[in-house]
């Protein structure tokens, strides 16, 4: 058998196991309209996906993952609870001359279900069972706790929105947090800007700055100028509160111990309580499916890499060093609302790479 047929056979086995677990088979186009994906991920996706031009339909993208088309298909047919399994190629453009795969098989499982903790545990435990014996290292996290902590900060809505917008860009998030917490000095450029903006009515200042060209209007500019002046007057996030958030960003512990730690800080950051209780319910659901949560690794910042849409539970199964994650997944409730045209349903899912599984089984 060729490598491709060995991988396909492995994929078919995994796919069959997912169907046996109660999923319906779903297919997705390989050629997807680029617009939706660009609006979702931004220009960064161009570095990670193949964009091609259709002479009549404009920019198209070779399927970089299944989640978006599967969610679209599900939401267009209503937002009822459902379980789906799929298998097929995904295509990842690579900007470096290393051995990373440009095209590989994925087998995936997506659960649309309103009982979030049970669904999280179902997906994780199912993957854990399918990958048993491969000696993989699971890693878990929960972006929902971090988001709840940001929403609970005693600061302006604008600052919270700025932090939430960059939650998947850890470096940028950190820089913003340092600034809002008063840990980073205000740059000379910025204080100069504030001084100039404070010199008069923003609309007059825009007019004085010369002819305005482009679509961004004088009102747009004035609104942000006012927001900047208002923000300059906003007090820094109080040190104890900021310390809790920094602590949360670096929290890494076995899941059960992490839960105890979070329960310890929740009285000082009450906004995270619902997310912490959801975390607790998930651990119970995982334990009832036989997962040892006293040893399951948890990191609050896990899964915050760019180009993701996860907003709750996240997980990966890592193999030997040097290999990409063998499986990964997470919760993406907000995505169903973005793609659902007014409807939404909690959703969680994940993918397994059968090519890597076959390699670990020694079949390749």
């Amino acid at each position: 058998m060729t490598a491709k047929s060995i991988i396909r056979a492995e994929a078919e086995q995994l796919h069959a196991a997912l169907l046996a677990a109660g999923a319906s088979a779903i297919e997705a186009d390989i050629l997807l309209p680029a617009g939706t994906l660009l609006d979702l991920y931004g220009e960064d996706i161009r570095a990670r996906a193949y964009v091609t031009a259709d002479p009549l339909n404009g920019e198209m993208m070779l399927r970089p993952d299944f989640t978006v088309p599967v969610v679209q298909a599900h939401m267009s047919g209503g937002a009822d609870p459902a379980r789906y399994a799929y298998m097929g190629e995904v295509f990842r453009r690579q900007e470096h001359l290393d051995g990373r795969a440009r095209e590989y098989m994925q087998v995936g499982y997506e659960v649309f279900d309103r009982d979030a903790s049970k669904a999280d545990a179902e997906v994780f435990a199912l993957f854990d069972k399918l990958l048993a014996g491969l000696n993989l290292r699971p890693e878990t996290g929960d972006i929902g706790i971090l988001m709840a902590a940001v929403r609970g900060l005693s600061t302006t809505e604008r600052r919270k929105a700025a932090l939430l917008r960059h939650i998947w860009r850890p470096q940028r998030f950190r820089a913003l947090l340092d600034r809002f917490a008063g840990r980073a000095p205000i740059s000379a450029t910025h204080s100069g800007l504030l001084q100039r903006l404070a010199a008069g009515d923003p609309l007059d200042l825009v007019q004085a700055a010369g002819p305005l060209v482009g679509l961004r209007s004088a009102e747009d500019i004035a609104a942000r100028a006012e927001a900047l002046l208002e923000d300059a007057k906003t007090p820094a996030i109080a040190a104890p509160e900021a310390a809790l958030l920094y602590d949360l960003l670096s929290l890494e512990a076995p899941a059960r111990a992490a839960l105890e730690h979070l329960r310890g800080i929740a009285p000082m950051l009450p906004a995270i309580l619902p997310a912490v209780e959801a975390f607790a319910a998930r651990l119970d659901a995982l334990a009832s499916r036989g997962i040892d949560v006293t040893r399951l690794p948890f990191a609050a910042s896990h899964g915050r890499s760019t180009l993701e849409y996860y907003d709750g539970f996240v997980f990966t199964f890592q193999g030997p060093a040097g290999l990409p994650a063998i499986a990964s997944g997470g919760r993406y409730d907000a995505l169903t609302a973005v793609l659902g045209a007014g409807k939404s349903i909690p959703a969680v899912g994940g993918i397994i790479r059968p090519g890597l599984v076959a390699r670990l089984r020694g079949a390749l």
Partner: protein, 234 residues
């Protein structure tokens, strides 16, 4: 035969010929003035290939030329993982141009990339589409904005007269080459204080993918010795 690609016309060609001439390698065009052929004197075994500066990165990466002269901006923009494919052997000290991000001068609230990012978020919320940046340097600009955490922008392609796109409402900002900034000012645009993407200049590149036979390596060593440069390890 060691093939060296140089720009086929204009000031870039003249300055390239001058640069090599000062280092004992005489380059000239041959045939009638419209014919793209050239010759090299002063060192045996070198063939001159006259090419458009924009095509030299591709020819270097394909290994069809051993050496090539072009702008460092073009190599970085057109070649993925450029430093794995070519070596920037010598900066030549001419053809200077800065690739910069510029926005309308009347944007009194935008001085830095940070401001641009925040303005882009507000713009998208208000206008329903991402803030458009016109450029022909897609890879360089995208990598720069990603590294600096700018989101909610869209790159739109502009192959010329890029400074005019804002006035024509096809973009809100631009990323383009400038040397004196005069065209920017004439089009009511200003450069972001931290908006320098790349400082470009004409550069002599060496292809890592070309076949370097013993004969070609010997020519490279002679050329390096003549020009007072150290030949890169192959």
């Amino acid at each position: 035969m060691l093939k060296i690609g140089v720009p086929s016309k204009g000031r870039l060609m003249e300055k390239t010929f001058d640069w090599f001439g000062q280092r004992g390698v005489t380059m000239s065009r041959t045939g009638n003035e419209r014919e793209y052929s050239g010759a090299v004197d002063g060192v045996e075994g070198v063939e001159l290939v006259l090419l458009s500066a924009g095509e030299i990165p591709r020819e270097l990466a394909a290994g069809r030329i051993h050496l090539g002269v072009t702008g460092s901006d073009l190599v970085r923009d057109k070649l993925a993982d450029w430093s794995a494919q070519v070596v920037d052997w010598a900066a030549m000290g001419f053809g200077h141009a800065d690739l910069i991000i510029a926005v309308p001068s009347a944007w009194i609230d935008v001085e830095t990339l940070d401001d641009l990012d925040a303005a882009a978020a507000a713009f998208r919320a208000r206008h329903g589409h991402r803030l458009r940046i016109a450029t022909k340097y897609h890879r360089l600009v995208r990598e720069f904005l990603t590294a600096n955490g700018v989101a909610d922008y869209a790159l739109v392609d502009s192959q010329g007269a890029t400074e005019g796109t804002v006035k024509n409402l096809t973009a809100e900002a631009i990323a383009d080459i400038t040397s004196t900034g005069e065209t920017l000012r004439a089009n009511h645009l200003k450069i972001l204080s931290d908006g320098l993407v790349h400082q470009s200049q004409a550069t002599l590149f060496l292809s890592q993918t070309a076949v370097w036979s013993a004969a070609e390596q010997a020519v490279l060593a002679r050329l390096a010795g003549l020009m007072g440069l150290t030949a890169p390890a192959l």
